[in-house]
């Protein structure tokens, strides 16, 4: 049965009539036109769809709408609103990607970690970044560049 859900996405109130179990990913992409969040698996196994829910990196593909009603969601578009995040700048500088399909999810995961590291004045080590991204898949083999870029971004 359809219900109306309201979510604050990148600071803007959005609503949708949908089944409560509908994944946040499809509300973002289909109803609200925010296609920067990518579909990879729909099962929480690849990381491509990562967004922030109340600031916490979350797979939007297995997050049902009922669980985010009234919450704050940030997508890659929101993160980039005021210009690229330091993580994005570093990824661009390192040319860290090939097809780039995995990257918006990786940006959202690592931006949270980098923000925290910079606030604490504790840059991330390579291993920290690898651990942080271990749930993210990249088929093109851009891993090492991505890791180097994020380490650099965390150094501030």
């Amino acid at each position: 049965m359809s219900e109306t859900f309201t979510v604050v996405v990148n600071g803007v109130q959005r609503s949708i009539d949908a089944d409560p179990s509908t994944a946040l990913l499809w509300a973002l992409r289909d109803a609200w036109g925010l296609t920067g969040t990518r579909f990879g698996c729909g099962a929480g196994s690849c990381g491509a769809c990562t967004v922030w829910v109340d600031g916490v990196p979350t797979h939007s593909c297995d997050t049902p709408l009922w669980s985010v009603a009234g919450k704050d969601v940030t997508t890659v578009e929101g993160l980039t609103e005021q210009g690229p995040h330091p993580v994005q700048e570093a990824l661009i500088a390192h040319q860290a990607g090939q097809c780039g399909y995995c990257l918006s999810g990786i940006v959202m995961r690592s931006a949270a970690a980098v923000d925290e590291a910079r606030a604490a004045g504790k840059p991330l080590a390579e291993d920290d970044v690898r651990q942080c991204l271990d749930g993210h898949l990249c088929r093109c083999g851009a891993h090492n560049r991505i890791v180097r870029a994020i380490v650099e971004a965390s150094e501030g």
Partner: protein, 691 residues
């Protein structure tokens, strides 16, 4: 200079246009697959025309406007398209320069960022009136390079992707667009399906439910309704037919006993097993493309013309197969390339294009957007073929190899659109009374072969025999995947070479050099050995191995050293790579491709295997088809040997075989155990210890 792309599309105006003031448009026939080819073409055109790279626009392949360059495959984009655009730009520059001289009344003309200057004034490309409907002269002298070729220009498309802008076909939204989802049969062998169509048609937002044979699909007003309806159709559908009974465990036996056709690739005497110093069998399973983004397509039918957007590797061949499958005139079908997630060969992009096209014909004047599920992407796409390889080698008393025989069994490495007797589009094969997809074929040796790609060792061996046995039945659909047979063959050959070196107590590096008179082979082998500290001791529980090949025997030279640690599990701790792909257009791009190829090969070699039984591919989730993760990826050190005077060669596939081989040899060095059947999992190592 020559390029088949040019012979097929000889007119300058096909390749370049100057229609927009201040801009140059280069028309591509090869697709950007995530490999960075568009950026490389920008460099070639900018450098040769004498304009800034920022002025060049790339027009993606399009059967309505662009050249026919067949497929984007075989590491041939740079040799084919790059050469065609180089010559097109050189011709354009000469024509415009002549016109500029005439206009300026002066022979002393300089060119900077598209503007020709003399003492008397200046004029640019766009203000000159030059007829570009002329044939390209392939023997034209090339203008001096400004250095754009050879520089690491940043990718023209990457920033948009990193900042989450609409970049992929899945992100395209058109007015009044409908969304299609196809529900694949529960098993291979299904011929029909029973569903309660009427009930689904009544649901809000459902536009149509399409049933034809074993093809079942829904078209809906929104993507959410399409997804949810497809899921329910999937759980309620009852499929009719007989599942096939083959399992992946039985594949080696199947491929070596089923009917085959033979192609002799090297005609030497070779050596019979009984006379051989060393004989062994090697194998690999079917491998999935496993792109991070599932296949997508978009189609629109206006009542006459069908327009299809696809992340295909070949817009023209796809158009031919769509026209055949849909019984339409080719002239009424237009196929346009639009980027998708990373593509490493013939993946389901073309199948998705058929799905969208077929559904668009049901709802004229409405664009239909189709996206596959993850499960279908891993379960129903074409797979990289399983292979079984036998190698026998004879040596003299000093260990010198005197004769070599290779026999390779497997399905052909291409069922690409328009290359088979009937269409090779999955959805078409599921329609009622349509033929199954015929067994895949193999490219000829001159094009690098398929099963037999890199089957002839790149060493000095007096007598080599190589015989490919192409299986005429497919357990699951097989087609082209990055490097085709080279991954398996280089792994097998280089494992065999290492075994022979050890049998004769010769260092594997020395042994390779003793058999290599090709200076460019020696250069990559010696370079990588120096980089990796070959000969220095390795820690306990560690091993080091080397692998080498010249891709296809015609392409880039590449050598890899791997270091592994084998304690409880095998972990690759480092890869060193040396590559010679001739003249380098974009060093950073080459490094990115070589490293990416090596890491993908590492993943195939250690982890990947398509599993199936009773007509069902069970490895259809990331849990059941794991690929390499961030924590498993080792540091990679790549050295490019640039040869500015030589021809440019592709780099996308060169590292696949040598990486697999280096890892296998490093594991053998660490454990004293030779694993010959991929993937080299812990279980495979334990099994090999018992041999």
């Amino acid at each position: 200079m020559s390029s088949p792309s040019l012979s097929a599309n000889p007119l300058l105006s096909t390749w370049l246009d100057f229609d927009t003031p201040g801009r140059v448009t280069a028309h591509m026939g090869k697709s950007e697959l995530g490999q960075g080819v568009d950026t490389v073409m920008v460099q070639v055109v900018a450098d040769t025309l004498g304009v800034d790279a920022a002025r060049i626009d790339i027009k993606a392949p399009d059967t309505a406007t662009g050249p026919d360059e067949n497929f984007t495959a075989g590491s041939l984009s740079v040799p084919h398209s790059g050469t065609a655009l180089l010559l097109a730009a050189a011709n354009a520059r000469q024509l415009f320069l002549a016109a500029a001289r005439e206009h300026l009344g002066n022979s002393d003309v300089t060119l900077e960022d598209g503007t020709f200057r003399s003492a008397d004034g200046s004029i640019n490309y766009w203000d000159l009136n030059v007829d570009t409907h002329v044939e390209i002269d392939a023997d034209i002298p090339l203008p001096p390079s400004s250095g754009t070729i050879g520089s690491s220009l940043s990718r023209i498309d990457l920033e948009a992707k990193i900042t989450g802008q609409p970049s992929y076909l899945s992100d395209v939204r058109l007015p009044n667009m409908a969304y299609g989802r196809v529900i694949r049969p529960a098993f291979r062998g299904a011929v029909g399906v029973d569903i309660n169509r009427e009930e689904f048609l009544q649901r809000p937002g459902v536009v149509d439910v399409v049933v034809d044979g074993a093809f079942l699909a829904v078209i809906a007003d929104t993507e959410i309704v399409a997804i949810e309806t497809a899921a329910e159709l999937g759980t309620t559908a009852e499929w009719r037919g007989e599942p096939s009974d083959l399992t992946d465990d039985g594949v080696c036996g199947f491929l070596t006993t089923v009917e085959t056709d033979e192609t002799l690739l090297a005609e030497g005497e070779g050596v019979h097993v009984e006379a051989a110093t060393h004989s062994a069998q090697y194998s690999r399973p079917f491998i999935a493309h496993a792109s991070i983004g599932p296949a997508t397509a978009l189609a629109h039918f206006d009542g006459t013309v069908l327009e299809v957007w696809s992340h295909t590797q070949g817009v023209y061949p796809l158009r031919r197969d769509l026209a055949r499958a849909l019984n339409m005139d080719e002239a009424d079908v237009r196929v346009r390339h639009f980027q998708g997630a990373g593509c490493y060969g013939h993946n389901p992009a073309d199948d998705a294009a058929f799905d969208a096209a077929y559904l668009a014909l049901r709802v004229p004047n409405r664009p239909v957007h189709v996206t596959w599920t993850r499960e279908d992407e891993l379960g129903w796409g074409p797979f990289g073929p399983a292979m079984v390889v036998y190698i026998s080698a004879a040596t003299d008393d000093d260990g010198r190899i005197t004769a070599w025989s290779w026999d390779g069994f497997g399905n052909g490495h291409s069922s690409r659109p328009s290359t088979l007797p009937t269409p090779s589009l999955l959805g078409y094969s599921h329609l009622s009374n349509k033929p199954a997809i015929p067994p895949s074929g193999d490219p000829p040796l001159a094009a690098g072969a398929g099963t037999g790609r890199n089957s002839i060792p790149g060493y000095d061996i007096p007598s080599v025999r190589a015989l490919a046995h192409r299986a005429l039945e497919m357990p699951v659909r097989a087609s082209a995947m990055r490097s085709l047979g080279a991954h398996m063959n280089v792994f097998a050959i280089e494992s065999h070479i290492d075994d022979l070196a050890r049998q004769h107590g010769i260092d594997p590096l020395e042994y390779r050099l003793e058999h290599s008179s090709d200076p460019r082979a020696r250069a990559v082998i010696e370079t990588v050995a120096a980089q990796a500290g070959w000969g220095t001791p390795v820690a306990e529980d560690r091993g080091r191995g080397i692998g080498y090949a010249r891709y296809k025997g015609l392409g880039a030279w590449c050598a890899v050293v791997a270091e592994v640690e084998a304690i409880e599990e095998v972990r690759v701790t480092g890869l060193w790579i040396a590559v010679d792909c001739g003249r380098v257009i974009n060093p950073d791009g080459v490094e990115n491709q070589i490293e990416g190829g090596a890491l993908q090969s590492l993943s195939w070699t250690l982890k990947e295997r398509v599993r199936f039984s009773n007509g069902v591919v069970t490895s259809n989730t990331w849990e059941d088809y794991p690929i390499v993760t961030f924590c498993e990826v080792p540091p990679v050190h790549t050295t490019i040997i640039d040869r500015p005077e030589e021809k440019w060669l592709g780099a996308g596939e060169a590292s696949m075989g040598p990486t697999a081989a280096a890892i296998g040899n490093a594991i053998a060095d660490a454990l004293g155990v030779r694993v010959r059947d991929l993937p080299i999992t812990s279980d495979a190592i334990v099994a090999a210890m018992g041999d």
